[in-house]
């Protein structure tokens, strides 16, 4: 359906007073933002965005990091990290309170007899075993 010039002139304006007021407010907002900005601010903002985009690109194309993030999506892995962090905290606190080791065979024997030491050695040995397997698998798949 075509509309003549006369008919166009008779179409009521779609902007009511409130809408015009909103529009004016938006213009004032943009004008105030423009007055508040400076070249230096635009430069800093653009530099940050530019570096951010480059960094994001590097991160998203980093296959190792993406696999790490996938691993971290699993709740049990998050708990592992949390428990590791808590263990490190405790180690740090305990080391600060106990006196320095005196050395000697007797000290080593005493330490080896403690259940905690035995648990620790078992955990480290298991970690070594599975870590070794994982590294072998990584190399088999072409990772370096």
């Amino acid at each position: 359906m075509s509309v003549t010039a006369n008919e166009t002139a008779q179409i009521p304006p779609t902007l009511n007073e409130a809408a015009v007021r909103d529009l004016v407010e938006m213009i004032h907002l943009l004008a105030s933002a423009k007055d508040a900005m400076s070249d230096a601010m635009v430069i800093r903002l653009a530099r940050t965005v530019s570096e951010g985009v480059a960094l994001l690109d590097r991160l998203t194309r980093n296959e190792g990091l993406m696999r790490l993030l996938q691993a971290l999506d699993r709740q049990e892995n998050q708990y592992h990290l949390i428990s590791l962090s808590e263990a490190l905290n405790q180690v740090s606190r305990e080391l600060a309170t106990v006196p320095p080791a005196k050395g000697g065979i007797a000290g080593i024997l005493r330490l080896a007899c403690e259940p905690g030491t035995q648990e620790g050695i078992r955990s480290l040995s298991l970690l070594g075993k599975y870590w070794g397997e994982s590294l072998r698998e990584l190399h088999r798949r072409g990772g370096t």
Binding site: K34, D39, V42, A46, R47, V49, S50, V53, A54, D57
Partner: protein, 377 residues
């Protein structure tokens, strides 16, 4: 497939990065090898030199290590090419190495040749090298009043640079409070204030408003630095107190020495961007002889076409795109206003009224350049 890129400027770097992304799988599988040979380990944002000349940027802001901008799968070597043996798909470098290629991309850019005009190097300030831009800024700061003459020689890169420099000179002296003591005279070699008619139509009334005098059809013949006079081929002469020059440009020295094209400009198919007579040799950026501006934006758009065609040739055996002559250039109309110039082979530029928003777009782009050159934009 061995792809060799000669030149690590805007065109070569964008092309290398985009190609490395586009052919990531083939490069990983060892089917494609991508090598970039450059004369320098540093990459300069050349349009920034204009800002250095007016004290709005410092030179350190213009540089990045080229290796930091390149995809790690590109074999980057700082070893400029000295000989092109196009008949046997080989180049020889300064170190004496020989590189064989299946596809060659020449992106060697252009250089200033002020020595082609007698007295120009001695008598004029310029902003096409870091040293020149710093010296020009010092001279502008020392200037107390008199006639500042601007002369433009052709061909030159960044066609709107003379107009931008004229407006920046006006605002520079205005900001220093001595604009009334400075007579700005602009000299241009064709019979309008800019070679592009629409730019000329826009700039002329802006010059009038800023009180910039202009003399067109002034082809610089000679500079007499001792008496501070410039002479034109047309027989006119002008006395000056400070001379700002856009020097003539030529293609890269190595292109000249290897007789790849007259004046160092390589004969190039304007659509395919292949070197005439050599289908496996592409030419992009300032090095071509095609009728578009010698600007980073042209090099960027050309690189995109060549990347798509090389990738498509490798993947499907046929090229897919043609260059349409697209160029986009910002034009600074002073310290806080800018407009832009966008055109292609068919469409002429239509300049918008200068605004602060476009100026901010330009200063933002000065930072975003590093994202562009990495092949991300």
């Amino acid at each position: 497939m061995r792809i060799l890129i000669v030149g690590g400027g805007t065109g070569g770097t964008i092309l290398g990065n985009q190609l490395a992304r586009r052919l990531a799988r083939e490069i990983r599988a060892g089917e494609v090898r991508l090598t970039l040979l450059s004369a320098s380990d540093r990459h300069m944002y050349q349009p920034g030199l204009l800002y250095v000349a007016f004290g709005q940027m410092t030179p350190d802001e213009l540089y990045r290590d080229e290796a930091s901008l390149l995809e790690p799968t590109i074999d980057f070597q700082v070893d400029p090419v000295t000989e092109f043996h196009l008949d046997r798909n080989q180049v020889t470098t300064q170190s004496g190495k020989t590189h064989d290629y299946d596809i060659l991309v020449i992106a060697t850019g252009s250089r200033i040749v002020p020595q082609e005009v007698a007295g120009l190097s001695e008598g004029a300030e310029m902003f096409y090298t870091e040293e020149d831009a710093i010296r020009m800024h010092r001279r502008l700061l020392e200037f107390r009043g008199g006639t500042v003459a601007m002369v433009v020689s052709i061909p030159h890169k960044c066609p709107v640079a003379p107009v931008e420099a004229a407006f920046l000179l006006h605002d520079f002296f205005k900001a220093r409070g001595i604009r009334d003591k400075v007579k700005l005279r602009y000299h241009y070699p064709v019979n309008q204030v800019h070679a592009t008619p629409n730019v000329a139509r826009w700039a002329k009334p802006e010059f009038d408003k800023a009180g910039i005098e202009y003399e067109t059809l002034f082809n610089l013949k000679e500079v007499d630095p001792a008496n501070k006079i410039i002479y034109s081929e047309e027989g006119t002469d002008v006395k000056y107190d400070l001379l700002i020059a856009i020097p003539p440009h030529s293609g890269a020295e190595t292109v000249d020495e290897n007789n790849l094209g007259q004046g160092g400009w390589i004969p190039t198919d304007r659509f395919k961007l292949t070197m005439n007579g050599h289908d496996n040799v592409y030419v992009i950026g300032d090095a071509t002889d095609i009728p578009v501006s010698k600007t980073g934006s042209a090099a960027h758009f050309e690189a995109e076409v060549v990347v798509e065609n090389i990738a498509s040739m490798i993947k499907t055996g046929t090229p897919v795109r043609e260059y349409d002559g697209r160029v986009y250039c910002f034009i600074e109309a002073g310290y806080d206003r800018a407009t832009y110039n966008a055109f292609d082979y068919v469409n002429l530029p239509e300049l918008k009224p200068p605004s602060k928003a476009i100026h901010w777009f330009k200063v933002a782009y000065n930072q975003m350049y590093w994202t562009t050159v990495r092949g991300l934009l």
